[in-house]
């Protein structure tokens, strides 16, 4: 704001008047200011009353989720001790992972083993027909 022009100095209140007027204004304003402070407090209290149940509900929901996540985290933590092999690496690796000591990538060997197992397994006798005859497949 610009300085006072000299010709308007005479319209300026003297210091005593200025101080008195200022004090009078501030005094008259105090009840209004107090009402504003109280209003703000009421508004804050009203919001607090409104938000408390919401906050409590959120705490319950997120608390439940956190507990659930904690339990899952515990089971995960058990496997964390054992390093999980990367599947891609496994495909290219010739070393069998733990638990697969007889791992063999040769299909012929696998099929041969399966055939041998089928031969050695005793065949189950088919159920006799209702007329008492044996099915054709069953040979003495």
């Amino acid at each position: 704001m610009r300085d006072w022009p000299r010709w308007l100095e005479s319209l300026r209140p003297d210091e005593v008047t200025s101080a008195r007027l200022r004090s009078s204004i501030v005094q008259a304003a105090e009840p209004l200011l107090k009402a504003r402070r109280d209003d703000w407090w009421e508004v804050a209290s009203r919001w607090a009353g409104l938000l408390t149940p919401v906050a409590a509900a959120l705490v319950l929901v997120f608390g439940g989720l956190a507990l659930h996540g904690g339990a899952s985290g515990e089971s995960l933590a058990l496997t964390d001790g054992e390093p999980t092999p990367d599947p891609v690496e496994l495909l290219h690796s010739e070393v069998a992972p733990a638990g697969f000591s007889e791992f063999d990538t040769n299909h012929d060997v696998v099929f041969a083993a399966l055939g041998e197992a089928a031969r050695q397994r005793p065949r189950a006798a088919p159920a006799p027909r209702p007329d008492g005859t044996q099915p054709r497949s069953v040979r003495p």
Partner: protein
């Protein structure tokens, strides 16, 4: 209560809206003297000017929520003050300043007080003789601190017209008050 220093006016307004007495006192301190001069230029009587200033500050406080965030307090307050002073003059059919002894100032030096009172009376009389637009332009520019663009907006005239009003108003005052007060050139 927040301690007051030289704070941003928008911040002060925000604090006052929350009921901060220190911030309100700071606004009063900033605008009291100019407010008094504006009211005096309208009403012509110091006691009535005091009443108008006090009423205007209280009205401003009651309506401070109407002030848009970030808007300057000064121009808004002066518009409240002008309106208050004009209402006061209309409602109470105020006495002319010539009929009122203007010795109610608190100055302890009688000679200085008399000198001030006489000068004030002449300035007010000279202002009163100015055409309405010139008087308002001079008050807005010199007292309320408006620039020419803002004065033009307030009066609803072109910026050039606002400059002319301030120039001619000051010239008329200089002609009338020259022997009493030295008036500086624009």
């Amino acid at each position: 209560m927040v301690p007051t220093g030289r704070r941003d006016e928008a911040e002060l307004v925000g604090l006052v809206q929350g009921g901060d007495a220190g911030a309100f006192d700071e606004l009063v301190r900033r605008y009291l003297d100019r407010g008094f001069a504006v009211a005096l230029s309208i009403l012509g009587v110091p006691q009535d000017a005091e009443d108008a200033v006090q009423t205007a500050f209280i009205r401003a406080l009651e309506r401070i929520d109407q002030l848009r965030p970030g808007s300057p307090f000064g121009p808004w307050f002066f518009s409240v003050l002008r309106s208050t002073a004009l209402n006061l003059r209309r409602r109470e059919n105020l006495r002319s300043h010539e009929e009122i002894p203007t010795s109610a100032s608190g100055d302890s030096n009688p000679e200085r007080e008399l000198d001030r009172t006489l000068t004030r009376g002449r300035v007010l009389a000279a202002l009163k003789e100015l055409p309405e637009q010139q008087r308002t332009a001079v008050i807005l520019y010199d007292l309320e601190g408006y620039n020419h663009r803002e004065v033009a907006e307030a009066l609803g005239v072109a910026v050039g017209t606002s400059r002319a009003h301030v120039h001619h108003g000051r010239k008329a005052l200089r002609d009338r008050l020259g022997p009493v007060i030295e008036l500086e050139e624009e």
